[in-house]
Symmetry: C2
Amino acid sequence: MEYSIQQIARAAGTTSRTLRHYDGIGLVRPSRIGGNGYRYYDDRALVRLQRVLLLRELGLGLDAIGEVLEAQDAQARGGEHPAAAEARVLHSHLDLLLRERGRIDAQIGSVERTIAALARAADGSPGETDGQEDLMSENMFDGFDHTRYREEVERRWGANAYASSDRWWRSLGDAGRAEWRASMEQLGRDWIAAAESGADPAAPVGQELARRHVEWLRGIPGTPAHGAGGDLAGYVLGLAEMYVADERFAENYGGAAGAGFVRDALRAYAERELAA
Amino acid sequence: MEYSIQQIARAAGTTSRTLRHYDGIGLVRPSRIGGNGYRYYDDRALVRLQRVLLLRELGLGLDAIGEVLEAQDAQARGGEHPAAAEARVLHSHLDLLLRERGRIDAQIGSVERTIAALARAADGSPGETDGQEDLMSENMFDGFDHTRYREEVERRWGANAYASSDRWWRSLGDAGRAEWRASMEQLGRDWIAAAESGADPAAPVGQELARRHVEWLRGIPGTPAHGAGGDLAGYVLGLAEMYVADERFAENYGGAAGAGFVRDALRAYAERELAA
DNA sequence: TTTGACCTTGACGTAACGTCAAGATCTAGC
DNA sequence: GCTAGATCTTGACGTTACGTCAAGGTCAAA
């Protein structure tokens, strides 16, 4: 069978423009070109086109699709097994999709929180648009003045981590900031209580607190915990060490002993749940 | 304070190119332009820039951001309350994000199934690349020959619904197709058993089956149930009616009585769980 | 005055086509 | 054979939010 460009487009559920595009980039070439310049396709081309469209529906880019199909064609010429190549490409694509979902989840959370903050602001609570000065001079989320450690923050977490967190913190409004601090302090109190109870950091109590702690960290834009793709496990482990080493942090968890408990619990949690 | 373009870029955690872009599209204009053509920004511009960057981190497009900021500026001129405009934009954006996540979830599922199918194919099970003819001539997923109802499928579910489902079905391979049919038949048997038990379609047994049924439908590319964004509730309700009205479907559920049970259960489920 | 650092506009590239535009060709009916 | 309408061609712009040169002016310190 031989199809005109419209016919094969209809057969595959796409458009002639797409076919011309695929011809242009060499992804699906016509089997024959008429003396009038018309493109004609045969069944082999149709099968190839079907595979392209299927992989496209999985979200692969056209160049990745080309790679898969090339492996398919190189099969007889001693290349790697085509299914292996396809699986390899799909695995890395799956990885990308998972990171993408993490990013979207984080955005959804941020948007929801922002909407809630706007609703609270509309309810009353005056003094919302003032006080734009020196907001970062207050103790932010880990118990010390970030403006004084701006350089350290930027060196540790990247150049715009500080700016990003700062924007977010300013956007919260007074009510939101109070709420955030309250949640932080509640978490701190719960950590202290758990540490004083003498429980094993790896026991469920500690692990549940560790989960809450990581969730709480994820809510801070500008850190590797926000969204996805960063080295979450490494970030958490680094913070855990910092809690112990730096007394400014340790204070929040009842001193060195409490911070040690937090560190051990986070370590165990990261090993179990965040292993890359 | 007055900043040069680099200074304001560093202060906000972005680049000078971005500032030039925002000037070009009129989103953030410099407060002053020097005789040498240099752009200079003041604190008001910095605040505006911060808001732009914050909203951008939430995933809004630059034009949507412009809309929000315009409402902010129109505040004194009798426009709607700026926070209301922002909430409106954020709500529709949230909607978009949720649909996007649904799409990604569906892609993740498809990719995972495809990888699993490739692994099975590599394990052995010959005859994988042949039999490309007339695959759709078999009873596909709802018990009748789709090639014979192609036009109806296209009219009901859109022009490339058929092509999309067809591609997916071909891609499954013999093992995958057998598996899929088995899952369909298992679902049918469970429906029949539930119907014969005389239970209330709205009772947990029926509702759990309805949930499984909808999940199963979501796995079929080309239907409104796949991914997200389509009228899932309307689609499910339409199918439910069809199961009763069309005996080709009804057979799968033990005849008219069983199909009626399925319909009622799906109706109740759609009302509870899929209400838009 | 030199030398970097910083500034400008202009323009191409990105992903995957959609959407005209202008013109050539095919097909069917008269 | 002629004409209308369907179909085909290449060419080029538009889409998003900038990154990345390129070529050339400006500024501040030495």
